[in-house]
């Protein structure tokens, strides 16, 4: 713990801020901006405490919404509704921002060999991790401050506004620290961010299942995201949970710092293993290579979605019970459509989550084409007898097959556990697997947009992530904020039937598929006619 091991911290900090001078502000401004829009719109739509309490009671009775966003705390207050409605940002978007920032400035740099270049100048071995953590924590704190100021500006109470800002900042800091640990354990940036996102996924799942069954469930408290939700930011604020989250964030950061002093540069803590000296028989073309490159990710995602399905399926039958036990909610319960409609709505919401996750996987897989190109690995393949289109299609094929498997696994998991509980596995499988696969047309559109960018505007492939986040925001906030229909129509996910339970109409499906095919074909054509390389 000599100060010398921190030499160069200032320089690294400035470098990280210089590199992130556009990226991080976009995250922060977008999220704070969303909070402001939601706050203003909700204030207009529900101006009185009575109206707000009514809304809170209705949405609080809906287990699908609790699974997605948690319970409402501070039912009659504008802040309570805003914080509830925006919890997908504090629980998902902010942690993602933090994870990407930490990995970008640690493992990714190390893997690219740039850290070595810096390390040969005057730089302490602990400095890079600390710089990455400071930047990410700083971004989370700025974001939290922005949220607090926004809530104060719309006239919310001071304590609640402060707590809400703290909740946003803490979820970012927590997962920055998680990512810092992950980045020490594996030698590969993609594995590091994958592991951190896996932790985030499990945390979200635990919180979500707990909240869906019972807002007082201990399951929720087993998840760090549960601590954030249970801070009850506009209710009776529980500051000790904020303290717990901060403590864990600091502990994890210290752990990562200790780990970084115990390993060599560019090495992970898990030792390298030898592999096959010769390629297996199936590893003989672009498709084999694409499968070899993506198979671990496909496996994890399929297992992950199966587990997600099992969990949601396991609790689905319980989601109506709470409502039935609470007499004053009976009316709301009937208004939603009774037990079966409630369960269907719950499943439809979880299928939407699966859809966004699958889209994320497929975009990541398709954009690998661009990553292969900028890392010059595409040259290795394209200088052999492999044509560009089959090369591109090989990654697309793995993306599509993996996506179909993921959705099917989600449906199968849900059908299995829900079927066991209601004593009708066959019927539930037959309902829920197709319901999950119903997300496919929208997911394909997003992936095809990624392919179009790879072919036509390779320097702007990141836009597809922006589009996915925009679709997520539209889907989550759009109907609630009563946005214009044409705006909602831009999201392919909002053209899907709500399954199970909803009606499937052919036209939107055909239209979405046509758009996907068109975008994909345009991308492939573009790829054939442009230079391959970094430019």
């Amino acid at each position: 713990m000599t100060p010398r091991s921190l030499t160069g911290l200032g320089t690294l900090l400035r470098l990280a801020l210089r590199r992130d001078r556009i990226r991080l502000p976009i995250w922060i401004v977008t999220i704070v901006g969303l909070v402001a829009i939601v706050a203003v719109t909700l204030g207009d739509l529900y101006p009185t405490a009575v109206a707000r309490r009514q809304l809170s009671t209705t949405v609080g009775a809906n287990p699908a919404l609790r699974a997605l966003l948690g319970p409402v705390y501070g039912r009659a207050r504008l802040g309570g509704l805003v914080s509830w409605r925006m919890s997908f940002a504090s629980l998902v978007l902010v942690p993602l921002m933090a994870i990407f920032a930490v990995v970008r400035h640690t493992r990714a740099e190390e893997e690219a060999g740039r850290l070595e270049l810096l390390g040969s100048t005057v730089m302490g071995r602990r400095a890079p991790l600390l710089a990455a953590l400071l930047v990410s924590w700083g971004a989370a704190l700025v974001l939290g401050a922005g949220v607090t100021l926004t809530m104060l500006a719309v006239g919310s109470r001071f304590e609640g506004s402060l707590a809400m800002g703290a909740a946003f900042a803490l979820s970012g800091m927590l997962f920055a620290s998680v990512a810092a640990v992950c980045a020490q354990l594996t030698a590969n940036a993609r594995t590091a961010s994958g592991a951190a996102i896996l932790v985030l996924g499990v945390a979200f799942l635990l919180r979500s299942v707990g909240d869906a069954v019972d807002p007082r469930s201990w399951v929720t408290m087993a998840s760090p995201l549960g601590w954030i939700v249970r801070m009850r930011v506009f209710g009776h604020v529980r500051w000790w949970l904020a303290g717990l989250a901060l403590g864990v964030a600091v502990l994890l950061a210290v752990a990562a710092d200790v780990l970084t002093t115990r390993r060599d540069l560019e090495a992970g803590l898990l030792p390298p293993r030898p592999g096959a000296a010769e390629a297996a028989g199936w590893l003989r073309g672009p498709l084999g290579l694409a499968w070899r490159l993506h198979r671990v990710a496909v496996l994890w995602w399929v297992v992950g979605l199966f587990a997600l399905g099992l969990m949601y399926g396991g609790v689905a039958a319980s989601v109506g019970q709470l409502v039935r036990q609470t007499p004053q909610l009976q009316q709301a319960f009937q208004a939603i459509g009774g037990q079966q409609a409630l369960i269907d709505a719950f499943f439809a919401t979880t299928m939407t989550i699966a859809g966004y996750l699958t889209a994320g996987f497929m975009v990541h897989t398709v954009l690998r084409l661009r990553a292969e190109e900028t890392s010059m690995r595409a040259d290795d393949v394209l200088a052999t007898a492999v044509r560009r289109t089959p090369w591109a299609l090989s990654h697309v094929a793995v993306a599509v097959a993996g996506g179909v498997l993921m959705l099917a696994a989600m449906g199968a998991g849900a059908g299995l556990t829900h079927g066991l509980r209601v004593g009708d596995v066959g019927h539930q499988l037959g309902r829920l697997v197709p319901a999950a696969l119903g997300q496919l047309p929208a997911v394909l559109v997003v992936a095809a947009f990624g392919l179009a960018l790879v072919g036509l505007a390779p320097r702007f492939v990141g836009l597809v992530w922006g589009a996915l986040v925009a679709f997520l925001v539209l889907g989550e906030l759009g109907p609630f904020l009563r946005l214009d229909q044409w705006l909602l129509d831009t999201s392919p996910f909002l053209h899907l039937a709500r399954l199970p339970g909803g009606e499937v109409t052919l036209l939107p499906l055909a239209a979405l598929t046509a758009v996907a095919v068109g975008l994909g074909a345009a991308g492939l054509l573009g790829l054939r006619h442009r230079d391959i390389g970094r430019v």
Binding site: E111, A187, N188, P272, R273, P274, G275, A276, A277, E278, A279, A280, L283, R284, G285, P286, G288, L289, R292, L293, V296, S375, M376, R377, D379, D380, V381, L382, A383, T384, A385, V386, R387, H529, R530, D531, I532, G533, V535
Partner: protein
């Protein structure tokens, strides 16, 4: 025996930058051709145009009788490429990459590939992320050399190899030559080019500024002479073809044009040589002159020799 590579007036622009600016190059079948030039001269861009990865903005390009942009894969079956900066998939082993690239090219000679792995002393069971730069280079070299192809495009293939492995590489290229394969070798290691290449093209600012056989290019080079003589060496100062002459006491140091060497030696002999060190002509000088010549000029404006 036609030309394996034929390039005329090739232009490749990146925005305003003209990476290749009217480049001409002909490599006859069976020749080992050296492509020399400083960093950023356009060597890698040229190779990537020859592979059909980049589209030429202007000019005529033919590789193995076909247009590489239109018929890339047809040509690729008959050539192998080693990039300058070998990037491999970190979670594949070296052995897997060698097999995979060979299979995708459609022509892996299995016996030869085992032989090469042994000669280059590569551990094929290691993941490529655990390889050093030199070992990654070996993977790409073995994959290329083990392929049954007519043309090898090698972009600074020995950067990162140790001297022992450089020697193995030179042996391999000599074998390729005897098997009648054409090799285009980009490098800035003069020793390597001198040892391996039949002819050399020097590229600078996207054009070929000198070309010819080594013998032809040596005419343009100077021999460094460092001599100590018995008598006062004042007589040396008036001689033609001397450069950077330094006379300190009885010691003479200078560089001399190849065609003026004979005259200098006669004068020195008459003065009574006590010691004489002369560095044989290398491409170094010529090369350095092109490297150092800043601005737009092509060295000292001598005409290109050879063709």
């Amino acid at each position: 025996m036609g030309d394996a590579i034929s390039v005329a007036g090739l232009v490749k622009r990146y925005g305003k930058l003209r990476a290749l600016d009217g480049l001409d190059l002909e490599v006859p079948t069976g020749e080992v051709h050296g492509l020399l030039g400083p960093n950023g001269a356009g060597k890698t861009t040229l190779l990537r145009v020859l592979l059909g990865l980049l589209r030429a903005d202007d000019g005529h390009v033919e590789v193995l009788g076909s247009d590489p942009w239109r018929q890339a894969t047809r040509i690729h079956r008959r050539l192998a490429y080693v990039p300058g900066e070998v990037m491999l998939w970190p979670n594949l082993t070296g052995g897997e990459v060698i097999d995979l690239l060979g299979r995708m090219r459609g022509s892996l000679e299995t016996r030869r590939h085992y032989d090469l792995i042994a000669r280059f002393d590569l551990d094929p069971a290691k993941k490529t992320r655990d390889y050093s730069k030199g070992n990654r280079q070996k993977v790409a070299l073995i994959a290329a050399l083990a392929s049954d192809v007519e043309l090898l495009l090698l972009d600074e293939p020995t950067a990162g190899l140790d001297p022992l492995m450089e020697a193995v590489f030179r042996d391999c290229i000599a074998e390729e030559r005897s098997r009648g394969r054409t090799v285009l070798l980009s490098s800035h290691l003069l020793g390597e080019v001198e040892a391996l290449c039949d002819r050399v093209s020097i590229v600078r600012h996207g054009v070929v500024v000198e070309r010819g056989t080594l013998a032809e290019l040596r005419h343009l080079t100077r021999t460094a002479v460092d001599a100590e003589v018995e008598r006062d060496p004042a007589a040396v100062t008036g001689l033609p073809g001397l450069h950077d002459l330094e006379v300190v006491g009885h010691r003479v140091r200078c560089e001399v044009d190849t065609d003026a060497l004979d005259g200098l030696m006669r004068v020195l002999a008459e003065l009574g040589i006590r010691t004489l060190v002369s560095r044989p002509p290398t491409l170094q000088e010529l090369f350095l002159r092109h490297y150092e010549a800043g601005g737009d000029g092509d060295g000292d404006g001598r005409p290109a020799v050879g063709r």
